[in-house]
């Protein structure tokens, strides 16, 4: 047994710690997180937390006393400052040192810094304290928001704010927000749905600076705002992995299907892990979404405690945008051919991502039956031709069951 040290108390690190105890690891568990809030679900930050509708007992979970009950040594407001791979020790910012037998890197991402003058004036929504600060401002009454960045976080914040009586202008450098994760064709529909719900989206614009009264665009136009939010993306925190000598690949820490890095006794999970997936053509993928983070944490814990377990889940993520929820399963690529099923106006539809004639992913909105059918098709390994997928009269779950 010995000591399992987990650097990072986000969703991956939390899942790893809780699972370690559940699968019978009897050694020490040290869970180190740099935030002062107890571990929480991050997805609500850009949605229900900022607009104040979140039930915090369901966001900050499990209950704080769980860690003591499970004998998890939770160090909040603490960072791993330095590591010694040969001696297998880590120095923490609280002045203590941990001699680890298993080291799990769950360091997540850091918000991207862009060279935009005045960007430090903008709010971020990457941490609980930041989301609560924004919540306090939005609670003062209707605000004009300017949101720099039209990725999932920016669009979620915009749709949530508009649904609660604020106005929101999203400023996006690319021609369509979310084109990189969803492809241009699907992204164009998502953009249209957000616009129909009252979000003002300015795509293809460059931000010059953030000023007292709002955001200044290239060319001098000013977008007035009471509150500016920067949702300009993030980058994996790789410093500890590099210090340990872990191989870096595909923008992350290279791991095997058991989430083990190139250094024995060191695992990498969540946002930072570049992992092999049976669902992707690429040798390795990196996914910055909650379900993958939790799955990684669970598998790494099984590996550490039991010496078995592989992460082979179908990647899945979702984005709640106001009253719409986008559910994505599989690994979409921006250049995939798109085949639609259902009504894109309501919307109650599914976009299938087709590559080499095969369905590789799907984005579903307002269409739970098709989403379930898609999951069953993936699980059964059944690949109906695109024309069959597109036909709203075909029962996908039945096709999956028939094999």
């Amino acid at each position: 047994m010995g000591i399992a040290l987990i650097a990072g108390a986000g969703m991956a690190g939390r899942a790893c710690a809780l699972t370690l105890r559940r699968v019978g690891w009897d050694g020490e568990i040290v869970l180190v997180g740099d935030e002062v809030t107890h571990p929480y679900d991050r997805p609500p930050l850009s949605k229900s937390v900022i607009v104040g509708t979140a039930d915090m007992d369901k966001v900050v979970k499990p209950a704080p006393e769980t860690y003591a009950q499970d004998r998890i040594d939770l160090r909040l407001g603490t960072r791993v400052e330095a590591v010694d791979a040969a001696a297998r020790t880590a120095a923490l910012s609280d002045g203590t040192s941990v001699a680890w037998d298993a080291f799990v890197l769950a360091t997540g991402c850091a918000p991207r810094q862009l060279p935009i003058p005045g960007l430090e004036r903008a709010h971020r929504i990457t941490r609980m304290d930041e989301a609560l600060a924004l919540q306090a401002l939005l609670a003062q009454g209707p605000q004009r928001l300017a949101i720099i960045g039209g990725g999932f976080i920016g669009m979620e914040a915009a749709t949530a704010a508009v649904a609660h009586g604020h106005t929101a202008t999203v400023l996006e450098a690319a021609p369509e927000p979310m084109a990189r994760p969803l492809g241009r064709e699907v992204a164009a529909h998502v953009l249209r749905w957000a616009q129909a719900r009252g979000v003002d989206v300015r795509a293809g614009v460059a931000v010059e600076s953030v000023a007292e009264a709002g955001v200044v665009l290239a060319g001098g136009e000013e977008v007035p705002a009471d509150i500016v939010i920067a949702a300009v993306g993030q980058a994996p925190r790789l410093e500890l992995a590099e210090a340990l000598g872990c191989e870096i690949a595909d923008g992350g820490v290279r791991v095997d299907a058991g989430l083990c890095t190139s250094v024995e006794g060191v695992w990498a999970i969540g946002d930072i892990a570049a992992f092999p997936s049976p669902w992707a053509d690429e040798e390795r993928i990196r996914v910055e979404h909650a379900a993958v983070a939790i799955g990684h944490g669970q598998v790494a814990a099984e590996r550490i405690a039991l010496g078995e377990g592989l992460y082979e889940d179908l990647p899945t993520f979702w984005s709640d945008q106001g009253d719409l929820t986008l559910n994505v399963v599989g690994v979409p690529r921006p250049d995939d051919e798109i085949v639609w099923r259902g009504d894109t106006e309501t919307p109650a539809c599914t976009a299938f991502y087709v590559r080499d004639g095969r369905m590789r992913a799907a984005m579903s909105v307002g269409d739970m039956k098709t989403l379930r059918g898609v999951r069953k098709l993936f699980a059964a390994g059944v690949e109906p031709p695109p024309a069959v997928l597109a036909d709203p009269d075909t029962d996908l779950a039945a096709l999956a069951a028939a094999g």
Binding site: S48, I294, L314, T316, T325, L371, R372
Partner: protein, 103 residues
């Protein structure tokens, strides 16, 4: 645990989800033939009311209306991500026509 009556069998249509408050606990209740199942109405994954989802009779599971994880009404376990935690299952007994839940 307190046994609370949540109505009569006839109050619940077969295979339809109903939200019921029992002793301050929100339940998602479904009748299947002469049996009644009750699970916690809050999706353990995100902020959703499970009774606004669908009952999948083939799987004996309640599908979350937001993200599609389906929770087995007997075990509470989800069948697929994004949910990873089981939902709490509450024992139900039917005495005569009376539906009683242990909450």
């Amino acid at each position: 645990m307190a046994q609370v009556s949540i109505g009569s069998l006839g109050d619940f249509a077969d295979g339809e989800l109903t939200r019921v408050e029992a002793d301050g606990t929100a339940l998602c209740v479904v009748r299947v033939g002469d049996r009644v199942h009750a699970i916690c109405d809050d999706c353990p994954h995100a902020e959703a009311s499970l009774s606004e989802g669908d009952f999948l009779a083939d799987d004996m599971a309640v599908e979350c209306p937001l993200h599609g994880s389906a929770f087995n009404v007997e075990t509470g376990e989800p069948d697929c991500p994004p949910a990873t935690e089981a939902v709490r299952v509450y024992p139900v007994t039917v005495e005569g026509d009376d539906v009683l839940v242990d909450v």
